[in-house]
């Protein structure tokens, strides 16, 4: 629980039970307290960072960690490592300069210069953005429709290995504003709607989220059979391959090779997104195998180096931790 960041949520669940007094309960409560304080620290950082960006004439868009934490009963329930801000690509350099890096790294801010939502223009994103008060400053936050999409696809693109990400989707679903525009949210192509429907289906089926007013198409959608087991498998599977040592470091140690290959077996949820497929009944094995071939080819060609930009180019822009 603690390793996946769900310690605070677990504490919230047991706080009124006898488990609260147990050693594990005490650890969970300490995690919740620490996360609450971290949230207070982040508020200061965000206020300062946004102030600097605004002073430079830039208007960042806030999403993910900080914004997702606001969906919960207490901010401390949803930990996050850094603050995610988006700026238009042409403003990215100026934004980095305004925040003082490189090389200062004054703030734990993940500054993105790519679009946070597939098939949406920056003008559309800003038009639906809403102001969020952070301390003494106001920052534009991603609109509820775009944020639900971002949370959903970010989770799927990472193989949904962190339970907290599905909790984010569930929390977003249960906090939808009354004027939530489902037509806009689902528009933009069949694939987009499929991914969103899948994430919502997981949140309702696995976590029991109970959002009101779901469109019939989503409410009646059935998840493919392989999906829930794959999700639960990824929750119990430990650290995903992308957070481990590069293969090149493992090969010289034959004893570690088998384990390295095992943890690199492609996550079926992740490859579905990476290969731009829909979540349907067809087995994932061919796509997983194809992913293995591509990765192996890249590895054998020596392209998987620490500085190889192709490592990130094929990935969707949602791929960042936190």
């Amino acid at each position: 629980m603690l390793e996946t960041g769900a310690g605070g949520l677990a504490w919230w669940r047991v706080r009124d039970t006898e488990l609260a007094e147990s050693p594990v309960g005490v650890d969970l409560q300490q995690a919740f307290r620490a996360q609450t304080l971290q949230s207070g620290l982040h508020a200061r950082v965000l206020e300062e960072a946004v102030g600097k960006l605004c002073s430079a004439g830039l208007q960042p868009l806030l999403a993910k960690g900080w914004l997702a934490a606001g969906l919960y009963a207490q901010r401390g329930l949803r930990p996050y490592g850094d603050i995610d801000l988006w700026v238009r690509p042409e403003e990215h350099g100026a934004a980095l300069e305004a925040l003082g890096y490189p090389p200062g790294q004054q703030y734990p801010v993940d500054l993105h210069g790519n679009s946070p939502a597939r098939d949406r223009s920056w003008d559309e994103l800003y038009a639906r953005a809403r102001p969020e008060e952070v301390g003494g400053v106001s920052v534009q936050a991603l609109g509820a429709e775009d944020h639900l999409y971002l949370l959903s696809v970010h989770m799927l693109a990472h193989g949904a290995w962190r339970p907290l990400w599905l909790c984010d989707v569930a929390a977003a679903l249960e906090s939808l504003p009354e004027d939530f525009d489902w037509d806009y949210c689902l528009s933009g192509g069949k694939r987009r709607a499929n991914w969103l429907t899948t994430a919502i289906g997981l949140a309702t089926d696995v976590l029991g989220a109970s959002p009101g007013g779901l469109p019939t198409a989503i409410a009646n959608a059935r998840l493919p059979r392989w999906l829930a087991p794959a999700l639960l498998g990824s929750w119990g599977g430990g650290t995903p391959y992308m957070h481990t040592s590069p293969m090149g470091l493992t090969v010289p140690r034959p004893g570690a090779l088998w384990n390295a290959l095992r943890i690199r077996w492609p996550n079926p949820i992740q490859v579905t997104i990476d290969w731009n497929r829909g979540f349907d009944r067809t087995p994932r094995l061919p796509v997983q195998f194809a992913e293995c071939v591509v990765r192996s080819g890249r590895f054998l060609l020596g392209r998987q180096t620490a500085t190889d930009p192709s490592l990130t180019s094929r990935r969707f822009p949602f791929r960042s931790s936190g």
Binding site: L2, Q30, A34, P103, A306
Partner: protein, 178 residues
């Protein structure tokens, strides 16, 4: 600080992050990188440490707000603990009379009202690892915001926020999508 000044204690405000929860108040000391948890009694006393409210007034407020005995020894106990946690501008010097109060005596006072021992002023430390564990790695700048430096919760630390470490405890960094 003289005993007279101690009677009008003042809470420290600089370099603190304060988060109030329904049942407790959390305080992070940016200067010392320490986190504290104040129970309602300690929090109430701390919130009244404005340099103008006397210990006697605080004792009266304990009764009004928390339904505790209006006992100055409770306030002194809270001030003592807050001072040790460096949450007051100056540590308090207990006046002779207050210094005589032992924890046992205060417990005896409180035990007249069943269940109130839980409301003894308490200032405890928070030692849990932080949310930085959400990231696969953390930049050094983030480390400043982690409650238990320099360990940084055991996560690898990189100099650039766009990069992460190859493995835990490693020093090499690679692009974030590693």
């Amino acid at each position: 600080m003289s005993a007279t000044e101690s009677s009008f204690p003042k809470a420290r405000q600089k370099d603190l992050v304060v988060e109030e929860l329904p049942d407790e108040t959390l305080v992070y000391d940016l200067e010392r990188d320490k986190a504290h948890c104040l129970n309602p009694t300690a929090a109430m006393v701390w919130n009244r440490c404005d340099g103008q409210t006397s210990v006697a007034d605080m004792a009266a407020l304990l009764e009004q707000e928390l339904d505790l005995p209006a006992d100055e020894s409770l306030v002194w106990m809270a001030l003592d603990r807050l001072g040790k946690a460096r949450l007051l501008e100056e540590p308090v010097t207990l006046p002779g009379e207050a210094a005589r109060y032992s924890r046992r005596e205060i417990m005896r006072t409180l035990s007249r009202v069943a269940g109130l021992t839980l409301l003894l002023p308490a200032v405890s430390s928070i030692t849990a690892p932080l949310a930085a564990m959400q990231a696969s790695c953390i930049p050094r700048s983030t480390c400043k915001f982690v409650l238990v430096p320099p360990n940084c919760t055991g996560l690898p630390i990189c100099e650039q926020p766009t990069k992460c470490c190859l493995t835990k405890n490693a020093t090499q960094c690679t692009p974030k999508a590693c």
